[in-house]
């Protein structure tokens, strides 16, 4: 191995090593600072304490934000999974051109900037006096979650060997029994993963939520954003740490359901 090659090799390792550290640093930083004892947010923390967790859970605004986040994320997960499962199943029975058109329609919102989607929805919904409700945030988040649940379910249905269902019916199982005992167990991991992904999308999103939320319907990221605009509060560290934990739990569920490589490839 020549000297230049060795130098390149070391530069390469330094490069991807630094990128790796920068990628995972935010999680480490917010979790570490959430246990900081001081009122000034510093990293690394000097003294450890759980006082900011106590403070977080005794404040009405943050408790409401946690509740709002859980409601919108669960709502988005359920709603976008139902749409995704039904759509991915139905699209198999359409001719190619219709199926391509529908796939395009479903995927396009993912490429529209959140600010513009947020503005469009805010103007449209305020015409009917529907802004500042939690379900409007669910609808907005579902615009970004359904393309993902739809893709995951299409891949799941494509992997399923549909002959198995026919075989079960040939062996005497009724349509319902074949559905319940053959199709469902085979595609359930995909459904669980799709729901987890929908949950995570909603949990993280805050630009559309920022436009659509009212005082009562702020989610944790929206509340964090509004707080951060004023000051670096340790309570934002706690909120962020909770978001990280919730996302990791959801990712863990998705990864156990379908394997980490598929999560990486399909989202």
């Amino acid at each position: 191995m020549s000297n230049t090659d060795r130098a390149t090799q070391w530069l390469f390792r330094l490069g991807y090593g630094s990128i790796f550290l920068l990628l995972v640093a935010p999680v480490a930083v917010v979790v570490a600072t959430s246990f900081n004892a001081t009122a000034v947010v510093t990293f690394p923390p000097t003294d450890l304490s759980t006082r900011w967790y106590t403070a977080f859970f005794s404040q009405q605004t943050w408790l409401r934000a946690v509740r709002n986040s859980l409601i919108t994320a669960s709502g988005t997960a359920v709603f976008s999974t139902i749409l995704g499962v039904a759509g991915a199943f139905g699209v198999r029975h359409l001719d190619r051109r219709t199926s391509v058109a529908i796939t395009g329609l479903v995927l396009v919102p993912l490429l529209v900037p959140g600010v513009i989607l947020g503005v469009a929805l805010l103007l449209f919904l305020s015409r009917f006096g529907l802004q500042q409700r939690l379900f409007t945030i669910v609808l907005a988040h579902a615009l970004w979650a359904t393309p993902l649940t739809f893709s995951v379910m299409r891949a799941t249905f494509a992997r399923f060997d549909w002959h198995l269902q026919e075989a079960a019916m040939d062996l005497g199982a009724g349509r319902l029994r074949a559905f319940r005992e053959v199709l469902v167990p085979n595609v359930l991991p995909g459904i669980v993963a799709a729901a987890a992904i929908g949950f995570v999308v909603s949990l993280q999103e805050f630009i559309m939520a920022l436009f659509l939320a009212g005082r009562e319907t702020r989610t944790v990221p929206v509340e964090s954003w509004l707080t951060l605009r004023n000051s670096l509060s340790p309570l934002v560290s706690v909120g962020s740490a909770l978001l990280v934990v919730a996302v990791l739990v959801a990712l863990g569920i998705a990864a156990t359901a379908i394997g980490i490589d598929r999560v990486a490839e399909e989202t």
Partner: protein, 296 residues
């Protein structure tokens, strides 16, 4: 014969009924995406007014005229295009290097690097931006480390300026960009590199001559993601940039919520959406070309 026709017809009907399951998702996207966008277009074509948000029922192109004739708004569009181009270039460089590292790594290291990118992708944007402040501010960890190591005497100003906005935006797009490139790389046989090196190519040369050309579809997708999301960037320039980094997203939000000028806000939103659409179409055509090239 009639039996066949009958069963065919029954089959056709059954097929049709199952296809109806696409109805909910189509209705949803029509009601929550297409119709609100139509409404945005309608508002962008109303007369502007200082009393209220827009003049109901009127027709005018004053909103577009206003946006295109107001220097601060035009500057904002130009700045955003430059910002998005810069972020895209940096994102492609960083992501190609990292995706290549994942691809070349084996066993535990490969899983670790993959987990790193997934963790970042799944970290909420607000968490990443908060961490950028804590890490890159003058009193932050990274600046302290650089000063302590003696490379520079004074902390560098890495946030509350364009550098901060770029760092923040990179945190948002890089994970997706890495995965787009990696998904293409993972389908290439690693032995192409050994072959190139056996034939006398240096390490960098082998990568440039053999890997990059195969990765072009992934690079294009990564570029589209980085560019379209940066054209719509809002949070990163607002929180870790300064007032000089006024992207179109920030300008639209101000028009809507401070000036209460819905017509102009809608017009500007549609202009930005149009830019994104043009960028996507160009890329789609380019992607079709490269794929066509591969087929031949």
């Amino acid at each position: 014969m009639s039996v066949t026709t009958g069963s065919l017809r029954a089959r056709f009907r059954r097929t049709d009924r199952r296809a109806l399951l696409v109805a909910p998702i189509v209705l949803f996207d029509l009601a929550v995406f297409v119709v609100p966008f139509g409404y945005l277009l309608r508002i962008s074509l109303t007369e502007r007014t200082s009393r209220g948000a827009f003049v109901e029922g009127s027709w005018s192109i004053a909103g577009f005229e206003y946006v295109l004739s107001t220097p601060t708004l035009v500057d904002s569009i130009i700045f955003t295009l430059g910002f998005a181009t810069g972020v895209t270039a940096l994102s492609l460089g960083i992501s190609l290097l990292y995706a290549y590292a994942i691809w070349r790594a084996t066993g535990g290291l490969r899983v670790l690097l993959l987990v790193g990118v997934l963790v970042s992708m799944l970290t909420a944007i607000i968490v990443k931006l908060f961490a950028v402040i804590l890490l890159f501010s003058p009193s932050g960890f990274i600046n302290q480390a650089i000063v302590a190591s003696g490379i520079v005497a004074e902390p560098l100003s890495l946030i509350n300026n364009v550098t901060g906005a770029v760092i923040g935006q990179l945190y948002i797009v890089v994970p997706y960009s890495v995965l787009a490139i990696y998904s293409v790389l993972s389908s290439i046989d690693q032995s192409v590199i050994e072959a190139a090196r056996d034939l006398g190519a240096g390490r960098l040369q082998a990568v440039a001559a053999v890997v990059v050309p195969h990765t072009i579809p992934g690079l294009i997708v990564a570029g589209v993601i980085s560019f379209t999301w940066s054209v719509g960037s809002f949070a990163a320039p607002l929180l870790v940039g300064s007032s000089a980094e006024r992207t179109t997203g920030i300008a639209i939000s101000d028009l809507l919520q401070q000036n209460f000028d819905w017509t102009a806000a809608a017009a500007m939103g549609l202009l930005v959406a149009a830019i994104v659409f043009v960028a996507l179409s160009v890329t789609y055509v380019a992607l079709g070309r490269t794929n066509g090239g591969d087929d031949e």
